[in-house]
């Protein structure tokens, strides 16, 4: 379309009050709303966080390509609020992530996002959703599996779409009594007149592509929200906005990766300076990650180990922490070299799999609401995972040297032994603390719950490894191979119980997905060990 012919059409559309959404989205930026406080999912959060979490729930992403333009979550979700019309129903926004489900519903295998209209007209989907609703009606605690679980997830996303379109989710005003916040539609028209007017004028500015009037109305809305009160303190909201925008864990892995590369590349005369540079890079990454974790602690008011996402971040943090402590003592380089791949892989994983590893901060299930036990039991368990992850890394350094045809030094195996000791002490302490907490909270010390059992299995596995080393049944190489294999039991205790077994009392940590990824990792590790083993045999016989 030529520019000249565009103007009359636009004017015609304006007069009909029917602006194409994409056009409006492109013109008015909802940035002035980012610190608006909204109540959702059991807590009060900045509007920016709400929009990113909501779009991630709906579409699995925090930005979408719509009508040829990349739109961020703020723009898309504000679009629902400001112009809730039927045009949304034709937009491909709702995630159908599971390939078998897409096949089952005769959807395009390659496309993951579908429109409301496409999904509501799909008979197979409505049949599945009705079936799952029936199961839930009979037994509210029923565990859905396979396609039913996936269909139910799509059903939830459709529910979210519907409530967005109805405006039910935009709860921005504290009530006079009670704890449920109100949408502007729920406000008393006379008492809430100013607020209703602000939102009305935001809507009008949005549809008439008037950015300055939108910002003005948004600022007035923020002021009115403050007048009503009931908000968290300003610094908390500002901190959460900064945290949401800063992506500290992304910066951390970039710095760790740089440290690793520097360590690998520095040779000969550059070795000392390279080591110092790597220290600075890893140290900076560590500080940034610490700041990110601290922000999360301040925002959520609890230790950052309450779901899979947080524990992955925390384990990466712990791995680098232990590596830096050991480096301070021994100045070996191999601790850092071992820790970097583990930390980088974990942080990339956490950043790139938002559907499996949920970034959002949710209120905790009642049994976990105890910061004393969370920070003793859970922190020591996850720190033991971190120590074992470090031993996995150091073992890789040793095995890689063997594969490269070099014989690792005896001191490297001593270092490996030291990392294993840290892990064993922390896992023992953490598991026992878990027993004490369970005795206190659930009324029994030990009951062979799968999470308990796998923590014990992992511990016994590592004790087996250490006792075998003491008895001289195997040497340093065996210790390295064992560190890799025993880490699989840590993976089982950490990920497998929640995501594969899906049984037991630690059900608040359960989730789905990621199995192919973990299985591939395990396969690669076993292959790596096998290659090292063959190479070692050849080196030995040579």
């Amino acid at each position: 379309m030529k520019p000249s012919s565009q103007i009359p059409l636009l004017v015609a559309l304006l007069s009909l009050n029917l602006i194409p959404i994409a056009a409006a989205l492109a013109q008015v930026s909802p940035k002035s709303l980012e610190s608006l406080v909204i109540q959702e999912g059991g807590r009060k959060k900045p509007y920016l966080v709400f929009t990113e979490e909501t779009l991630r729930s709906l579409s699995g992403k925090t930005a979408l390509n719509m009508d040829g333009q990349k739109q961020d979550a703020m723009t898309v979700i504000t679009g629902f609020w400001m112009s809730p019309d039927d045009s949304w129903k034709a937009k491909q926004l709702i995630l159908v992530s599971n390939l078998p489900l897409r096949k089952h519903l005769s959807l395009e295998p390659a496309r993951k996002l579908y429109s409301w209209n496409e999904l509501t007209s799909n008979d197979a989907l409505s049949k599945e959703i009705t079936a799952t609703a029936e199961i839930r009606r009979r037994d509210p605690r029923a565990k859905l599996v396979g396609l039913q679980k996936e269909a139910s997830d799509v059903g939830m996303r459709m529910g979210l779409f519907e409530s967005l379109l109805k405006g039910d989710d935009f709860k921005i005003i504290a009530p006079l009594s009670g704890s449920d916040w109100l949408t502007t539609a729920q406000l008393d028209p006379t008492e809430g007149k100013d607020i209703i007017d602000s939102v009305h004028s935001m809507r009008s500015a949005w549809t008439h592509l008037d950015p300055s009037r939108f910002d003005e109305a948004a600022t007035s809305l923020l002021g009115l929200q403050k007048q009503v009160g009931g908000l968290p303190s300003d610094w908390k909201i500002s901190l959460e906005v900064v945290y949401q925008k800063a992506h500290p864990f992304r910066w951390a892995w970039i710095l760790y990766a740089a440290a690793g590369i520097v360590l690998l590349l520095s040779r000969n005369s550059w070795e000392r300076r390279g080591y110092q540079l790597a220290w600075v890079l890893a140290g900076s990454g560590f500080l940034i990650q610490a700041a990110g974790l601290l922000s999360r602690v301040l925002i959520a008011g609890r230790p950052p180990v309450t779901n899979m996402y947080e524990s992955v971040i925390w384990v990466a943090f712990g791995t680098i922490l232990f590596a830096l402590i050991f480096e301070t003592i021994y100045r070996a380089g191999s601790f850092l070299l071992g820790a970097v791949p583990v930390a980088v892989a974990s942080l990339i994983l956490a950043d790139s799999q938002p559907v499996i590893l949920d970034h959002s901060i949710h209120p905790l299930t009642p049994v976990l609401r105890d910061n004393f036990w969370l920070s003793t039991h859970v922190l020591s368990i996850t720190l033991s995972y971190a120590a074992f992850a470090l031993s996995l890394g150091v073992a890789h350094v040793a095995l890689a040297q063997i594969i490269a045809g070099r014989k690792p030094t005896a001191i490297l195996y001593t270092y490996l032994y030291k990392t294993l000791q840290v892990g064993v002490l922390l896992l023992t302490t953490g598991t026992i603390l878990g027993g004490v907490w369970a005795n206190y909270s659930w009324g029994r010390f030990w009951d062979w719950d799968p999470k308990e059992t796998w923590a014990l299995t992992a511990l016994l596995g590592y004790l087996f490894l250490l006792h075998g080393r003491i008895s001289g049944l195997w040497g340093g190489f065996g210790l390295a191979v064992g560190s890799v294999i025993a880490f699989m039991s840590v993976l089982m205790a950490w990920y497998g119980v929640n995501f594969v077994l899906g049984a037991g009392l630690h059900s608040y940590g359960f989730g789905t997905g990621g199995f192919p990824l973990v299985a591939t990792f395990v396969g690669c590790e076993l292959l790596f060990v096998a290659i090292a083993f063959l190479k070692k045999q050849r080196l030995g016989s040579a």
Binding site: Q39, E40, G41, G42, R43, K44, P140, K171, S179, D180, W181, P363, P366, V367, R369, D370, W373, Q421, V424, L425, T428, T429, I432, G435, V436, N439, Y440, S441, W442, G443, R444, F445, W446, W448, P450, T453, W454, L456, T457, L460, G461, L463, F464, H467, G468, I470, S471, L473, S489, M492, V497, V500, L501, G502, A503, G504
Partner: protein
């Protein structure tokens, strides 16, 4: 612990001394064998593999199977005992102890102490639960997780409890499992078990007003994969109506005048039945609102599609002078509901047997053989406690703006049965209440601890509390502490040379 042994001895002479004592004494040889690192490795490895396997068993079957096969299986307990022996023996092999052995000994004895605590806990303590209502009576008994058969002996009328888990009972009509009836020469034979017993109707002869025309009807739906057995009778005391999932109404009456009039505004479908005087057929009317959609006659073995989804009616029995009685029987409809139980008979030393009857969990059944009658019941063992507990208040605060519970708060009142002294307690998530409470009771575990376990979202007057009485707590606690301190000492505290 002894001091550094003889500090002047070199490590070599110490090793030589240890080798020498093994050579000279068979007892030392056995101790060194039992405390060997190889045995430790075998134990660590097998226990790790066994419990890992158990978690998969649990995920594929359920926790009961994993418990019966592994965690609570005699071989596993025996293996743990061997582990204790190994742990103890290995500390003896290090005699005379030196300062460097401190961490090692604390750790290994800590594990033994922890396991001893576990044994004490499982022998002398118990776990159970109690369901309380704010409008209910104070409770003086705790429901444990142990299934028991309860036998009332005809000799002294006492109730005898014997543990019985039907799930893992291997029994058959050909080789029943026998239990003695205490104080008599009688035995109870268990010849079949079922996990899915439910009350099933059947017709029993009855005279007088109780005996009417009775029918047994089977309703089945292929879509719902369900079969429902319904018994109706015109006799007094038997059901004459049946509520079909709240979706339809079933009525049988001796004549048309006794049938209810149907409200034209109520669009619920109904089925009315009137038995014929010969007692061999039924007149039926199917309808909706005030209108009759079909009518006719039914005989035994007739099939009638009802027009309620794909539900069909099968007439399995019509009998005069009969009443409807319900007894537990295995649910053959394929639905996995009902309760566990078994089929038992009474037998005497002469080899005579009573009629076998099903005993469902929660029920009591009299077994009669000649003049002897023995009542038997089956269910979870109830344990009396020396005080009563009542629910004063139960609250479920929610996360802001949602229906998700943020806590569960039960206020309870304990009352000492002997002294009548009362004490109030608040049970919150992660904050149990205990009785008698106090530092000493809490430390030793001679204490009843009540923690929040379950709630009923549809009835907030009710809550279920987990109850723990664990006299093994102190050894467990000291053992736990010893393990952690011991490992830390072993790894990080080096004795000065």
């Amino acid at each position: 612990m002894s001091a550094d042994g003889n500090p002047t001895k070199s490590p070599l002479s110490r090793a030589a001394m240890i080798a020498e004592r093994q050579r000279r004494s068979p007892l030392w040889r056995v101790i060194h064998l039992l405390g060997s690192l190889k045995l430790a490795l075998v134990l660590l490895g097998t226990i790790a593999i066994a419990i890992a396997t158990a978690t998969f068993t649990e995920a594929h079957f359920d926790s009961g199977v994993a418990r019966a096969w592994i965690y609570k299986a005699p071989w596993f307990i025996a293996w743990l005992a061997v582990l204790c022996i190994n742990l103890f023996a290995v500390t003896l092999t290090r005699l005379p102890w030196q300062r460097k052995h401190t961490g090692f000994i604390i750790t290994h004895y800590g594990i033994i102490l922890l396991l001893i605590g576990a044994v004490i806990g499982s022998r002398l303590g118990f776990e159970g639960n109690v369901t309380l209502r704010t409008d209910g009576q104070p409770q003086r008994k705790i429901v444990t997780d142990r299934s028991c058969i309860q036998v009332e002996s005809p000799s002294d009328s006492y109730l005898y409890l014997m543990p019985l888990e039907t799930r893992f009972l291997h029994t058959s009509v050909a080789s029943p499992k026998y239990l003695p009836v205490p104080g008599t020469s009688l035995r109870i034979g268990i010849e079949a078990v079922s996990e899915h017993l439910s009350p099933q109707p059947h017709l029993a002869p009855a005279s007088g007003k109780a005996g009417g025309t009775g029918v047994l009807l089977d309703f089945s739906s292929g879509m719902m994969k369900q079969t429902l057995h319904v018994g109706l009778s015109t006799g007094e005391g038997s059901p004459g109506t049946y509520d079909f999932f709240g979706r339809a109404a079933l009525t049988m009456a001796s004549n048309a005048a006794a049938l209810p009039t149907h409200d034209p505004n109520n669009k619920k479908p109904w089925l009315d039945l009137i038995p014929a005087s010969d007692g061999k057929s039924l007149e039926y009317r199917l309808g909706r609102g005030a209108s009759v959609t079909s009518s006719g006659n039914l005989h035994e073995e007739d099939l009638l599609p009802l027009g309620w989804a794909d539900w069909r009616l099968h007439v399995s029995q019509i009998a005069k002078n009969s009443a409807v009685v319900t007894t537990p029987a295995p649910d053959e409809s394929g639905a996995e509901n009902g309760v566990p139980g078994f089929r038992a008979f009474l037998s005497n030393p002469e080899g005579e047997k009573s009629t076998p009857l099903w005993v469902a969990s929660g029920g009591v059944v009299p077994l009669v053989l000649g003049k002897e009658m023995v009542r038997i019941g089956y269910g979870l063992e109830l344990r009396p406690i020396p005080f009563s507990i009542a629910l004063v208040d139960f609250e479920v605060p929610r996360d802001e703006g949602t229906e998700t519970p943020s806590d569960f708060q039960a206020t309870v009142r304990f009352k000492n049965t002997k002294t009548g002294a009362e004490k109030e307690g608040l049970i919150r998530m992660n904050h149990p209440a205990s009785y008698p409470g106090g530092l000493l009771a809490n430390m030793t575990g001679f204490n009843y601890k009540f923690s929040q376990a379950e709630w009923n979202p549809r009835d907030l007057k009710e809550t279920t509390l987990q109850v723990l009485y664990d006299p093994g707590w102190l050894p467990k606690w000291i053992g736990s502490l010893a393990i952690c301190v011991g490992i830390a000492t072993m790894f990080y505290i080096r004795p000065r040379e």
